[in-house]
Symmetry: C2
Subunit: 473 residues, 2 copies
Amino acid sequence: MNAPLPSHHLPQIERRPLPAAMLEALQQRFGARCSTAMAVREQHGRDESPFDVPPPDVVVYCDSTEEVAAVVALAHEHAVPVIPYGAGSSLEGHLLAVQGGVSIDLTPMNRLLRVNPEDQTVTVQAGVTRKQLNDEIRHTGLFFPIDPGADASIGGMAATRASGTNAVRYGTMRENVLGLTVVTATGEVIHTGTRARKSSAGYDLTRLFVGSEGTLGVMTEVTLKLYPLPEAILAAVCHFPSVEAAVTTTIEIIQVGVPIARCELLDVNAIRAVNRHDKLDLREAPMLLMEFHGSPASVQEQADTVQQLALDHGGEAFQWATTPEERTRLWAARHHAYLSALQTKPGCRCVTTDTCVPISRLAECVTETMAEADASGLPYFVVGHVGDGNFHMGYLLDPNLPAERDTAERLSLQLVQRALRMEGTCTGEHGIGLHKMGFLVDEAGAGAVAMMRTLKQALDPKNIMNPGKIFAA
Amino acid sequence: MNAPLPSHHLPQIERRPLPAAMLEALQQRFGARCSTAMAVREQHGRDESPFDVPPPDVVVYCDSTEEVAAVVALAHEHAVPVIPYGAGSSLEGHLLAVQGGVSIDLTPMNRLLRVNPEDQTVTVQAGVTRKQLNDEIRHTGLFFPIDPGADASIGGMAATRASGTNAVRYGTMRENVLGLTVVTATGEVIHTGTRARKSSAGYDLTRLFVGSEGTLGVMTEVTLKLYPLPEAILAAVCHFPSVEAAVTTTIEIIQVGVPIARCELLDVNAIRAVNRHDKLDLREAPMLLMEFHGSPASVQEQADTVQQLALDHGGEAFQWATTPEERTRLWAARHHAYLSALQTKPGCRCVTTDTCVPISRLAECVTETMAEADASGLPYFVVGHVGDGNFHMGYLLDPNLPAERDTAERLSLQLVQRALRMEGTCTGEHGIGLHKMGFLVDEAGAGAVAMMRTLKQALDPKNIMNPGKIFAA
């Protein structure tokens, strides 16, 4: 088992120089949209990970696929690293310019290019965020379900194969991207996929880019599946005597095949934090926050089944969030869990894990992990997309106390070891980034990782696309 | 637009010699499980495509991943082509040994290795067929939904990214393979994926191999998602005044979000054929054959919604198949459509298409294509997984009449051109194989196909894995 990279120092990689000719060419083409101001560079060299910032050498704001292609072609010519930048909400150091280079800021690419309600598809530029997308398509009666919590960009979500609260019902970015426009590592533009729902035409380039974390090319346009807004939505909260009881109930929900749309666990620490942050008065006991989508009859039927399963494990009577406002308030609180928890320990940073295990092992995995965290004395919280077998431990640490960092990293390592023993994955939705390269080898094996490296080498022979991520440089 | 390879002659590719040393090594290791008998070779050089047979030089029956790895390592050493063989039900010439070489028959690898009902997963050897799988897991209350009609092997289904009647509800092989054991082109064994439902750990090697048609490696073990057998199943037949009315109804079913499990179109010609073959008395009018899965209340609700939509388009009252026996009889008839149609023109062969378009364009695509077929005078039939936007034209031709072959190929070409204009795909589920290489370039573009070739070259530098498929040699 490979130890993770300690979160308090970055790999010692040499930064590659940015040739003056390249900077000049960028400045000539992009003018004020090309910045070397330190504040801008630092903003683009950080994300939500606990790492310190290595800034890129230059930030370029691109407005079109053609502009991205021009930047990458220059970078290819000069062998300069390229890091695509969206909302900056990555948790694994994806945006950190460990070898320097160009940050391509895609936020100006924030247009919906085509909405096809009759086919339930949409094509967006990569800088569109998920909330913007749902706001702009609301009139169609359709929605895009993937919801990682943060208002991430669609390009970033594709790059990390994101999922979140709705994945148990609607799948992840893997299942919901139909096609892509990609700028390759040599600056060419290719298109993958079609607007048809399925295809057997050649290698699945779409799926190769989804989850590639910017290391194979820059996704500039994304065609997505949309879904009809459910006729009825029911949300409910259910408290349990223990986390184990809540998770065991979840396992049974999945095993009997209830098509639950969202099934989120919050432990007492998470509830305490969101109560304070969002001024709620949720009872401080382990809780499932659930949502059911369907026809009025079907959501009632689903909820009845789940209520019965919950009662069998000591769950209380559901508290219903019947109005859209109540629902929104609860989900906002859930999405604030990370931020809320940070505020419980002023000045702290957070090591967030995202292991995912086969559903039958989930209760065991969560309870063992919590016992370990309790024994460590480090403050933590648990939230989880438990319907997928996926949960997050957030370990809160004082960045000035190396011992706390070490404890958090040890707990994270032990959790990953446990998840892999249970035939799960070291990352359900955050990606490998800078932090989990060792875990990837443990999980996939040296042979599979060697094959990934072979693909990287074939598509990006100069190693300019987000170098030093997924694989050690 | 690239014309397809005419189905009556194969590309003129030189067969590579099988070195005596390699044959000797195979015979030594495999004994009677290594055959050079012409009858065995010819059986392994054909599939359900209309091509003539180029046999492999030798057939080896493998019983384990280790045996497959040993054969591929030898083939790599001697630069000899390798073609994995499952059920032989491919429609696009995947199994034809156009460059000679070794056919690896995986049918002895027909064991279920692990059933995990509590996680709804199963791991099978690649030679297990879908019917065998469902028979062997019946006691668990779970099933594997992907159903391409033929009793294909799971390995073959993964290799062509197969789908079929249930895909509208349960997805295709793309969505339902969790992990693989793969023998690489150099004879190494790697594992991809885990038993967790989702993962963001590195490149999606699983999806790269699914749909790679044997050109990147040999899949020897496959971990699949399973689903709870529905509490209630309702099947119904509905006749319409026209194919257009049936397809328009389908479009609306999808647009309103009914979670229909199967939605199959049969035209008059297909119905006539299955009536004769299966001794049924279905009315000879365009028909949808549908199935609804869920709770008793939910299937009734779905069926009521669909019945109302059908009535709006002149559909008749549903005829229900209420017993499992009636259901089985109807679905068997649907699955026999291809065979039944062949028998309507003794001695004929069939060019089968499988274009797939965005759902809103489906009615237009089907009706234009049928008008073209009517004008040609060639007998044909239409069946379709219309809920996916996917349909099959079967053109029946006399193999001794070149004019009929040419007509069939012209119609097929025109259909693909139409589907691509409508932003669809040249193949929804059969794959590229030998027949659609030109179509692939038209669909994906030269840049994307060049990228696919780069991947092929990187993973299979000696071009031994099913050479001459997907890309021209």
